[in-house]
Amino acid sequence: MSLDPATVRRIARLARIRLEEGEVARLQGELNGILGWIEQLSEVDVEGVAPLTGGAQIALRMRADAVTDGGQAEKILANAPDRAGEFFAVPKVVE
């Protein structure tokens, strides 16, 4: 598997990472190196082996339905770059 420059730009855009044109070639090389390394995994024969979702063979733990959190608008908004009253304020998103 090999990424072309257009795919590198596309991945960056989907992840909202700004990419200078000069960086594309370097990142293309790095990403292709990573992918190539991961691709070695396909050499392992996993025929008939069920997917393993974690080291511990346990299922998801569930919690009871109770309100135990919230009521902390100030803390939630503390890191907001911009706010309006108790709302986050962001550049206008128009659909």
């Binding site: 989907l14 998801l60 009871a64 135990t68 206008k92």
Partner: protein
Amino acid sequence: MSYTLEGSSGSWEVVIGLEVHAQVISQSKLFSGAATAFGAEPNTQVSFVDAAFPGMLPVINEACVAQAVRTGLGLEAHINLVSRFDRKNYFYADLPSGYQISQYEHPIVGAGTIEIELSNGATKKIGVTRLHLEQDAGKSLHDQNATKSYIDLNRAGVALMEIVSEPDLRSPEEAGAYLRKLRTVLRYLGTCDGNMEEGSMRADVNVSVRKHGEPFRTRCEVKNVNSIRFVQQAVEAEAKRQIALYEDGGTVLQETRLYDPSRGETRSMRSKEDAHDYRYFPDPDLLPLVLDEDWVESLRAELPELPDAKRARLSRDYGIPFYDAGVLVAEQVIADFYEAVAKGRDGKLAANWMIGDFFAGLNRTGHGIEDSPVSAAALGKLLDLMADSTINGKIAKEVLEVMMDTGEDPAAIIDARGLRQVTDTGAIDAAVDTVLAANPDKLAEYRGGKEKLFGFFVGQVMKVMAGKGNPALVNEAVRKKL
């Protein structure tokens, strides 16, 4: 007659599939302990998990899982004892983590069915493809400021059930019937309040068109339609747009669109490049969701009687027409009210009075059944007063109107206003004599063979008696005297 749209090249069939997002009724959110109540002050029902603060981990709410299982059971669907959560990645201001926790390849509920009924009385089974659990996003307000959008995360992380139908629907009417039936089932189950105005039930509508006998053509998805009426309008508008495109020699591109009710048209919503590029992958913060079969069976055992079963039972046990039973089971509270009235009484009479004068009275006074001024017991008492001939049907209608206005007891109204039915044959005979004496010409016509004047005389006698005559006795007396 199946629904088709006419174009310049002939008639077109419409193919519709619905994705319904139903907000789960629960106290707290799917993966955090923040509250779910509607209408709270902005950002007061938000945990650090919901706001995607670094290092916060989701812990699933057992009640939300139970609600999804109940809904699956109510749709006669397969329950997957092992399911998994995935991250659906997209970038939007009301999604702080940059991904929605959803279920992609392994949903909690598999295939099921919903039976819909159409206006011609025909029924049709609509396939449900799947139901999965996912998080809702926050709410964006675009109209508060000229250059900024405001974000409230109270809704972020509330549990949603996404219920996906097969592309089995063929008309706006069928789409509406499907949504109404689904809403009724969800309300019976108590898993979603079905309130489309508050956004607790929203629909994405997949629409394509085709010539008869063709395979499916490309579909467009009309997002976030928030009323049944708008869903029906959106289907028609989008189908007509696609037909016009094809007939102009163009093609339909698969894309996401929005319905604008004020203009009655759909428009493209996002650039196609980004849409549907969600890069799903298993959420590494969450282990597989494994359900105990006994737990699922215990939920099944506690399911309420659902609308289809209730309708069949009411029709059978109370001897009422299937159509009437359908009206009465539309809401569980209506069905409960009806059964309280009908129990131990004439079920047919009870149904007629509820569907007729009682509903009309609620409408007139602006009440719902929940805050009806007339209780089931009071309506039952009114029926009893008719059954034991204290009042006749015509007077009962008047009494019910007063009950609707004042909430008074029917017997008290009858006594206070002297509405008790007259069964004294002497009084009835006297009234008949008065009427006959006042209408010598009509009497002559009747005796000359114009027998349909019988009704006229009965009516006049009732009028003289201010409507209080016992109808059977009045009929008998008039017949005798003529």
